[in-house]
Point group: C2
Chain length 164, copies 2
Amino acid sequence: MTDRSVLSDFKPGDHDHEACVAVALDTASTVCRERGVRLTPLRRRVLELVWRRHVPSGAYDLLGALRSDGRRADPPTVYRALDFLVENGFVHRLESLNAYVGCGGPGRAHNGQFLICDSCGRVAELEDHAISEIIREKADALGFHAGWQTVEVIGLCGECLGRV
Amino acid sequence: MTDRSVLSDFKPGDHDHEACVAVALDTASTVCRERGVRLTPLRRRVLELVWRRHVPSGAYDLLGALRSDGRRADPPTVYRALDFLVENGFVHRLESLNAYVGCGGPGRAHNGQFLICDSCGRVAELEDHAISEIIREKADALGFHAGWQTVEVIGLCGECLGRV
DNA sequence: TAGTGAATGATATAATGTAATGTTCGAGAT
DNA sequence: ATCTCGAACATTACATTATATCATTCACTA
């Protein structure tokens, strides 16, 4: 992946899931250590769950999964873990789905742009400066100081489009 | 307002609310007649409620208001009215707030871009081709066929910024 | 090893949204 | 006029998403 404006694309069904998840966990682990914050077992597990399914997860899906682990869990448990992961840029919240997806280029919480396939549910994440800049500029022109951008596009990914 | 990429800006507190609401209702009325769909009393009332407050309204705020009218109302009542108003482009749903706001340039349901002031809650609506086009192009480049765009920007409007 | 703040546990409830089914109402046909 | 049919609305029940509050545990450190 040389074009870093594409943080994650639509993974083919046959890619190496395990490796993919492992990398995400390792990265998070490293970043947390550097940052002096704690990737506790719970937070790590939630991050893993989010990554393991390559489609966005609802909070209550994750809650169910935690309970399947045999762990006692209630809504605040999962929401707190998600808050932590979002704040630290390991997962993104998709506003139009009320769901969470792993971040393809974890760093501090950052603006991404999301392409959400209406058919297979998979998500691609962009971090495209041209997009965020033009939005910021247009807002500026109206005297508006942009803080956070939500850009989510619903449509069909190439693969699903081909299947029609 | 000559620049039609700005459908509605941050109205000053002293603008003529009543006229503003009246125009919105008249426009909706006309459009519905042309289109052969019905702006029933309920739908009209919900549209009026949405416009009367110049900040986004939650579905349950509206539900409360309907009940204050003395009208019997339950969630499906207000959601159906809102669905109608959204489909016909009279109001927009703001995904990042789970709330609804009057549309500044009613037509068929259309993609807008929204600037949401985090301090006063007011919203400006853009319909900026440069923004929607670049998003569509970038999506296209990934083989993604964009259907619907959600673009919402949280920040501070000029007025609130000046007050800091 | 006692103190401290972060993290989690636990309980309750709020807020948002939908499914399913029945009833009423209004426009056009007879 | 009244019949018929589909749209709009009512009603009940429930599903989903999210937060408030307070207690407890845990990891670090002084």
